[in-house]
Amino acid sequence: MSTIRWIGETSVDGDVLFRVGRAGDELLAEWIDLCVLRANRAGDHVTLDVAAGADERLVAKISNGLAAALVRHLHGGTSLHASSVVVEGRAVALLGGSGAGKSTFAAWMCRADDAALLADDILRVEIGAGGAEAHPSEAEHWLEAGGGGKEPVAARRVAPAPAPLVALVSLAVGQGEGAGAIALQRLRGQRAVACLVPSLVRFVLDEPEVQIAELAFLERLLAAAPLYELRFPRGFDALPAAVDVVRTHLAGERCP
């Protein structure tokens, strides 16, 4: 039996919700009280152990979303914690921390007849000669259902195929003077990287070659799809106008 060395975790209000570690040659990801993913470094031997009494729908969401993305990372693939919507052939990735409103924003965007859901929570991104591509991975929005919980709601339309990723938008709450306004600002340089890094889905955190490859990926991604910060007032009142700002901007982005 190997001792587990936890090397990364996500907490909310002091409670650990998710952590990643190593036990000898094995990589582990644990969603507290829900399930544990175990994989060898090559990612060709993977198990998911479900905790007794765990919510089956949540486990299914993890299995198809974050767990699959972690295994993809072992194979050299990259995913973002992001919702994503395609509008008239152009995809946007919506970034932000827990509670930023990514799912809600995506759901509102998908009310339009020309929009379709690519991802609610985990977005697979591939970068090739033609630019960045967003791959469809999820068919449901997970929306606030009261009591702090979330419930799945089937998307009106689901994107059937990958789409060019033409913009990344980080959702932020308006602050200080102008907090009531909607503002879209391009982020560049170190600010863009600082904004993007927390959205990377990473299983291997402690291997220099992987870290360097990740930085190179960020460079190519930012070259392929500009990153913007969208500040708008929290709440549903400002949501339609904020979505309009993104849709208008998306229509003007260069499509490879």
Partner: protein, 93 residues
Amino acid sequence: MTIDETSRVRCARHVFAREFDEELVLLDLTGGEYYGLDRLGARVWNGLVAGRTITEIAREIAGDYDVTLEALLADLVALVRDLAEKGLVEVVV
């Protein structure tokens, strides 16, 4: 070891730097942590990589900023001390 304007420091071997829009992102390979340097910080870092002292770097770039050499030196010493505290640079003995 104390860092002052005459110090010569070098970038730590476990740090990987990459330029983004004339700014620098530093990746600490020991823990996978990212750090950012603005344009001034990037110029300082590149000076350190080239083996210059803090004073030499300050003299080289002072003309590009509306600030006295003394004030710039104080800022650069503070920056390099911060980099040293984070383990991103090491004093050359």
